[in-house]
């Protein structure tokens, strides 16, 4: 029992594999049986640019044209991708969660409870569920606020919500509030959150 091989193979590899089967392969198999678990690529998600993205292009025509050109599935995909990268890189996900639980009245506070189906896409690979809520959950952010609100809030959260502790992200915007490339991306991404939510979970 106390030999190198036992420890190496049975404890080291064996136990690890058992855990992988039970807490990775099994949940994967179960989840795969659900309806609507087809995987959406970034192109699928960006096929129809959102109203908010279009609105950004009309509110800030010059800046938008400079950074993204026309409104198109390609430019929308680019903005979503960059927005997510910033959300990850700036560790927004360490202050904001992205799933709504069935408990603690979260349904009333944030919106419909999360389902496995809504995370089957390229912008949730890896998922951004998070483990800490210094700020509110953002998985139902789509359409909750206007673009202008987000821009003002990102430039200086304290101007919009006086008691907040969210950092200022003014460096993504010009002096007059016009977004830079990254500013457009972040707002586009925030406005996308929750658009994949499914009405009727299995």
């Amino acid at each position: 029992m106390e030999k190198f091989y036992t420890l190496f193979f049975v404890a080291g590899i064996g136990c690890f594999v058992v855990a992988i089967v039970l807490s990775m392969v099994f949940p994967f198999m179960t989840l795969n049986d659900y309806q609507g678990m087809g995987y959406q690529t970034l192109e699928d998600l960006a096929a129809v640019p959102s109203d908010e993205f279009v609105e950004l292009s009309t509110t800030f025509p010059e800046a938008f044209a400079e950074h993204y050109g026309e409104v198109s599935p390609t430019s929308y995909a680019e903005a979503l991708r960059l927005g997510r990268d910033l959300y990850v890189g700036q560790a927004c996900w360490h202050c904001h969660s992205q799933y709504v639980r069935v408990v603690s009245n979260e349904e009333q506070r944030f919106g419909p409870v999360s389902t496995a189906q809504e995370y089957q896409n390229a912008l949730n690979k890896p998922h951004l569920w998070g483990t800490r809520r210094v700020g509110p959950d953002l998985s139902r952010e789509h359409g909750k606020r206007t673009n202008d609100w987000h821009i003002a809030h990102l430039i200086n959260p304290k101007n919009v919500v006086p008691g907040t502790v969210m950092p200022s992200y003014s460096f993504y915007f010009e002096e007059d509030g016009t977004p830079k490339k990254k500013g457009f991306a972040l707002v586009t991404y925030l406005q996308w959150l929750g658009t994949t939510a499914v009405e009727d979970p299995q």
Binding site: L7, F8, A19, I20, L31, A91, R109, R132, P167, F171
Partner: protein, 476 residues
């Protein structure tokens, strides 16, 4: 035990010294970053408005330097001391040792700069930059993930060589932990960084990232920590561990139960319920296992309680063990849905994380360093006063921080359920965040006492007196 063929010393102190030095620097970086991040919660983040040195980036640096800078460097140093002694064989190669040392510090710098330029990866505790987008292979940063795997494999080979050479001997329980722990390190890192990023999206991926966070703590940090305690406690106390069978039970139970609890980081989530129930049950089971280990440690101390007063390392070890017991006791409760619905997402969990990572594993490592450092630099401790300050500031700081964050978490959790507005919740937490920052300042002051003392010992400490450091003398 077997003598080594060559005339070289069994243990190479140079590598130990440098790894410990790097570990100390990394801990300082991590804690300064954590301290600055805590200032954000009070509205005093020092360089607010900087895109590069932003609060979010400092949080990434905080947790990652604690794990990869402090813990990995520190444990590696200690393995260089322990493994050759227990097996009777040298590590694989000194040259490889320096290569690993250099490569690892390079990895840390590459990760740190990566975080500053938004290159983090969305895997908690594994945010180390991938370096390219999966599927494309256009490099946008140094591929730190891949380097870590190479580094880990080298590290494992370094120690597997003596472990393998000693395969015909009976292994002491420390070696059980180290053998298995090293295998787990590589497997965990590979799984956690590849699967959710390349293969499984969404909820299935979440099961894997949960497993990753958990395995990194449970299958690397924990076995290393326990293994070191099983080595140093009996050594310093000069008496065998109370029960060998209990230590063996502890080992197999850890190996089997611990990794099964991974999903408990995402409870009440879209992950299937039966997987969550499995994780909850095994998590509660693991607390029973932890109790056996803690009982073993305390029974070993029986009859030698005086060592708590006279021996600094023993004091660190047992203060750490006390906090270990407390955290694990807490864990058995907080893993249930009843607690989860209130305390998940709140400061409660942050309190828990600091209690285990600082209060236990960091305490244990500092205890080992306290014992090793004079032997490495061949000088007596520069100041006993600073050693005491380090201990008491750390102990008081972590106890205050833990209590504070636990209460804060409960309040915030209930306020979330009662549908208070978010600003009210934030405002209710601010006083607790003040206490957190102050207690963090105590930890930081303690750390500086310790680091300064280490530095001055190396430079100005009184000449080493062998007689002071015979283990039998230390024990009483």
């Amino acid at each position: 035990m077997n003598a080594t063929a060559k005339n070289e010393p069994l243990v190479d102190y140079g590598l130990i010294k440098w790894h410990l030095g790097a570990a100390g620097v990394a801990l300082a970086i991590s804690m300064i970053a954590g301290f600055e991040y805590s200032l954000q919660f009070l509205g005093f983040f020092p360089h607010a408005g900087s895109e590069i040195a932003s609060p979010g980036h400092f949080r990434l640096i905080h947790t990652n330097f604690a794990a990869y800078g402090w813990l990995v460097n520190g444990f590696t140093a200690m393995l260089y001391y322990v493994v050759p002694r227990l097996t009777g064989f040298q590590v694989w190669s000194k040259k490889i040792g320096w290569l690993i040392f250099g490569a690892w510090q390079f990895i840390l710098v590459a990760a740190l700069t990566g975080y500053l330029f938004d290159k983090a990866q969305a895997i908690e505790w594994g945010e180390t930059p991938t370096g390219f987008r999966p599927g494309s292979f256009d490099l946008n940063w140094i591929p730190v993930d891949a380097l870590i795997v190479v580094g880990a494999v080298l590290l494992i080979s370094q120690f597997m060589v003596p472990l393998f050479k000693a395969r015909h001997q009976k292994y002491y329980v420390t070696l059980w932990y180290l053998t298995a722990g090293l295998v787990w390190l590589a497997l965990t890192y590979l799984m956690g960084n590849i699967v959710p990023e390349w293969v499984l999206p969404g909820a299935s991926g979440a099961a894997v990232t949960g497993l990753f966070i958990h395995d990194l703590v449970g299958l690397y940090v924990t076995p290393m920590g326990w293994g070191l305690m099983y080595f140093f406690v009996p050594l310093i106390l000069q008496k065998p561990i109370w029960s060998h069978s209990l230590s063996v039970i502890g080992f197999w139970a850890l190996a089997f139960f611990y990794p099964l609890g991974g999903v408990h980081h995402f409870l009440i989530s879209p992950i299937p319920d039966y997987v969550e129930f499995g994780a909850i049950t095994t998590t509660i089971a693991i607390e029973v296992v932890v109790t056996t280990v803690v009982v073993n440690f305390f029974m070993t101390l029986r009859g030698k309680w005086g060592a708590l007063r006279t021996n600094m390392s023993i004091r660190w070890f047992y203060a750490g063990a006390m906090m270990y017991m407390l955290t694990c006791f807490q864990c058995a409760f907080q893993v249930t849905w009843m607690f989860q619905k209130i305390i998940h997402f709140t400061d409660w969990v942050v309190g828990h994380a600091h209690m285990i990572m600082f209060g236990t594993f960091t305490f244990w490592m500092i205890g080992v360093i306290d014992w090793l450092w004079p032997r490495i630099v061949r000088r007596e401790w520069y100041s006993n006063g600073l050693r005491s300050w380090h201990f008491w500031l750390s102990t008081a700081g972590i106890v205050i921080m833990f209590t504070d964050l636990t209460i804060s978490g409960l309040i915030a959790g209930f306020m979330q359920r009662e549908l208070n507005t978010w600003t009210e919740i934030v405002q209710a937490s601010v006083p607790f965040w003040w206490v957190r920052t102050v207690s963090g300042g105590m930890l930081l002051t303690g750390l500086f006492c310790g680091l300064y003392n280490m530095l001055m010992t190396a430079r100005k400490g009184a000449p080493y007196v062998e007689a002071n450091h015979l283990v039998a003398v230390e024990a009483e």
